[in-house]
């Protein structure tokens, strides 16, 4: 086998590099090398070496969202974070934790529960990492009360494209010193730098919880019930609508708090939702999961809150018009819905539906983003739709990654 000088040079930076295998692809694009740094120092050394060698790099955590966004235009090195794991700090008295980015999100509840605490982030795709959740800004039902990753992330350690390590924020919740780079890299799909450590604010685990659900025939009715719940004094943790293709929809309200308080509020929620509403202490099927499976088309639809009933009915009508079985599920309480279509759906019809959904969400102040789709669909649709401030975004990318080596092409506007 001929000598591989690039591999040698990467290994000189950190030993944790190997030649890529046949599964080491990002969304179908093969890599040449894979490196799995164990700490920020190794990651920095590798990114410095990659910069010197002009290698294109894409980051990979649990791999659960590798088919989100566009495939990288160019790929030499996969920087895998699955060895960059573990809790750096859990200051229970200060309600904060610092976690390495490769840590699986679904491992945290067990770790933090001992102190009666939680990182209030849902993990819609099991197996995803903390860094992946931040990089793609995933969210689930509980965002209604607790906010999303961007709201819970209070400090971040980054490695830039040139290998320089930078920190922003810190370990205290109230902090306005310097720019909030944590927000900048949240949802940036790894195009601005590698996130190696995250500091989060935590919340106490509630003593009691109740899921109050009611089935409805008409999606718009689900939207109206959601509006009634918001207007009441229930302070729900989550307010979800689940409208599978071809079946009745369900509205579910999650209430958390003291045992006595939850009992009283669950009773009030049942009165509000109607006679056939039920209360349970466990979530309904599909809770905090996206309404699609691997290989399907997955969409994110957003709207102003008052537009949620309209969006539910418009989306359903558009799907019927294009004869596509659209499953809708999401947070009616915040104006974020997810939609799934079978992966084998006709690309032309999917494209027409995406156009219709874009028009519907735009009219309601929101957006339609295609998060994931099989290649034939992706070839036919633009994933992101209109983006405000794209020129500024390009300028930010140019400053952080002037050679466009980090996940090139995966993000909005070809960034």
């Amino acid at each position: 086998m001929p000598a591989d000088r690039t591999l040698d040079q990467l290994r000189a930076a950190a030993e944790v590099v190997r030649t890529a295998g046949e599964h080491d692809t990002i969304d179908g694009v093969p890599a040449r090398y894979v490196a799995a740094p164990r700490d920020t120092g190794q990651a920095a050394a590798l990114l410095r070496a990659a910069a010197a060698l002009d290698l294109a790099v894409t980051f990979r955590g649990g791999g659960t969202k590798q088919d989100w966004g566009s495939p990288p235009r160019r790929l030499d090195l996969i920087l895998d974070t699955t060895a960059l794991t573990g809790l750096v700090e859990h200051a229970a008295g200060d309600l904060i934790t610092v976690v390495r980015a490769g840590t699986r999100l679904d491992e945290l509840p067990a770790t933090l529960a001992g102190a009666g605490q939680q990182l209030a982030l849902d993990a819609p795709l099991p197996g995803g990492t903390v860094g992946g959740a931040v990089a793609t800004n995933t969210s689930g039902p509980r965002r209604m009360l607790y906010g999303t990753v961007r709201d819970l992330l209070i400090g971040v350690t980054l490695v830039r494209a040139d290998g320089v390590v930078a920190h922003a924020g810190g370990k205290v919740v109230k902090n306005v010193a310097g720019y909030d780079l944590g927000k900048l890299v949240t949802g940036a799909y790894g195009t601005l730098g590698l996130i190696t450590e995250c500091a989060f604010r935590l919340h106490p685990l509630p003593a009691a919880a109740a899921y109050v659900s009611r089935a409805v025939d008409d999606p718009a009715e689900a939207g109206r019930l959601a509006a009634a719940v918001r207007a009441a004094q229930l302070v729900p943790t989550a307010l979800e609508v689940d409208a599978p293709a071809g079946g009745p929809a369900t509205v579910t309200v999650l209430l958390e708090g003291t045992p006595a308080g939850v009992t009283a509020r669950a009773a009030a929620a049942r009165r509000l939702l109607g006679a056939d509403a039920t209360a349970a202490d466990q979530p309904p099927d599909g809770w905090a999961r996206y309404p699609w499976r691997d290989g399907d088309v997955g969409l994110k639809l957003t709207a102003a809150l008052s537009g949620v009933p309209r969006l539910l009915s418009d989306a359903r009508a558009a799907a019927d018009r294009h004869d596509l079985p659209l499953a809708l599920r999401g947070s009616a309480g915040v104006g974020v819905l997810y939609a799934g279509l079978p992966g084998a759906s006709d690309p032309e019809r999917v494209a027409a539906l995406v156009d219709a959904l874009r028009a519907a969400t735009a009219a309601l102040g929101g957006h339609t983003v295609v998060l994931t789709a099989p290649a034939p669909v992706r070839d036919r649709v633009e994933l992101w739709g209109p983006v405000h401030g794209l020129e500024l975004m390009r300028r930010v990318k140019q400053r952080f990654d002037p050679d466009a080596r980090l996940a090139p092409g995966r993000f909005v506007g070809g960034i």
């Binding site: 109230k174 010193a177 509006a227 207007a231 302070v235 957003t302 992101w384 405000h388």
Partner: protein, 490 residues
Amino acid sequence: MSTTTTDLDALAAALRAAIGADRVITDRQELRTYECDGLAQYKVIPALVALPADAEQCAAVVRACVAAGTPFVARGSGTGLSGGALPRADGVLVVTSQMRDILEIAPDDERAVVQPGVINLAVTRAATPHGYYYAPDPSSQQICSIGGNVAENSGGAHCLKYGFTTNHVLGVELVTPDGDRVRLGGRAPDAPGYDLLGAFVGSEGTLGIATEVTVRLTRLPESVRTLLAAFSTTDQAGAATSAIIAAGVVPAAVEMMDALAIEAAEAAVHCGYPPGAGAVLIVELDGPEPEVAAQFAQVESLCRDNRAFEIRIAADDAERALFWKGRKSAFAAVGRISPDYIVQDGVIPRTALPEVLRRIGELSAERGIRVANVFHAGDGNLHPLVLFDAAVDGETVRAEEVSGAILDLCITHGGSITGEHGVGMDKAKYMPRMFTDDDLDTMQLLRCAFDPDGLANPGKVFPTPRLCGEVPGRRKGAHPAQEAGLAEVF
């Protein structure tokens, strides 16, 4: 670069042509009105003041500044306490206080759309009839503007539970430092692309000027209950705070005042706090009635367990207001017991409170400078009021030393140099104590993307300006190009 009188005359003429003569101030006496923001130890008379009426005028002012190569500083009500809106003698002060329309209150969307000059409390007043309010409430909420709140990411007493300005701003329209109008975020959450909105909030006017702000409205709580607990020592009050948090209660607010702060408040507003208290805690819970009832009993007993010698429970809104009156007037009140004072704004992890307060006491004794402590105990945001008399030889210097030592104490304990007032001019020199050169260089990458010419509020936030064309890296001394007079820095 020095701006000459001729340049300024030309710029003033350009501004008058763009926004009208009555919106441009050039008279020296009138300019003096704007010489400082809330922090009186810094005073600079701006070269010009522009008072745009709307976003397009604001953009026109910025474009005129860009064309003239003149720096500009945005200012709302001027209540920041870090010199963030301190004018530049060679620059234009863009005052947004005449852009003060509430454009929309949309309770069904839980949103309000306002111009930047709108007063914080005015948003709540407009939303209250609909059953909503605007949660971020800096102590200056009666006079501070939303634009300023966005610039500083300012907080307040209720941040612990409800979050900060950044958690409640859903969209802005801004004028970028090159004069473009850009909309970020808006009525719906999670706009695609980089979270430039999140980066803009708290950027202290260095990334542009907000000309329209969409904020989240929060449902008015069904129930609010407030207690005031008196303790002999701040240690006991701190222990009670920790016990409340450890019990899983997230109060709407936990505020603490020490003996000197109480003395000042009593002298000013006669709030009638329990005599002999070494510390008082104000704990407020809000939310659904059954939750508040259950947790309030718990809080009361935790205060007693931690040796509160008196607990008062507000029977109605009037009593609640009285509890808060002492706290909210504390900053102004120290003016009655000291000719001069510095308001510090450091943050520490809450668990470090007893140790840090003890050390502040020692610093105070060592330097002969009184320090009154009034702060947001729930989130560790300290506001030590460092009292001094500028007329006494050496006191100003000693007060500044104590003030700086307190910030060092915050950093040593893993905290921050500012929790809500911003870095501004006042704390730029402390940034390298909290962040490395690499951290600050990385922040500058963002700055340069927005403001390559460094015209937006230069000299604030960052201690060591850097040329935007420069490759990031460690620097010593002045940049060679700057030294040679070849390039301007921000």
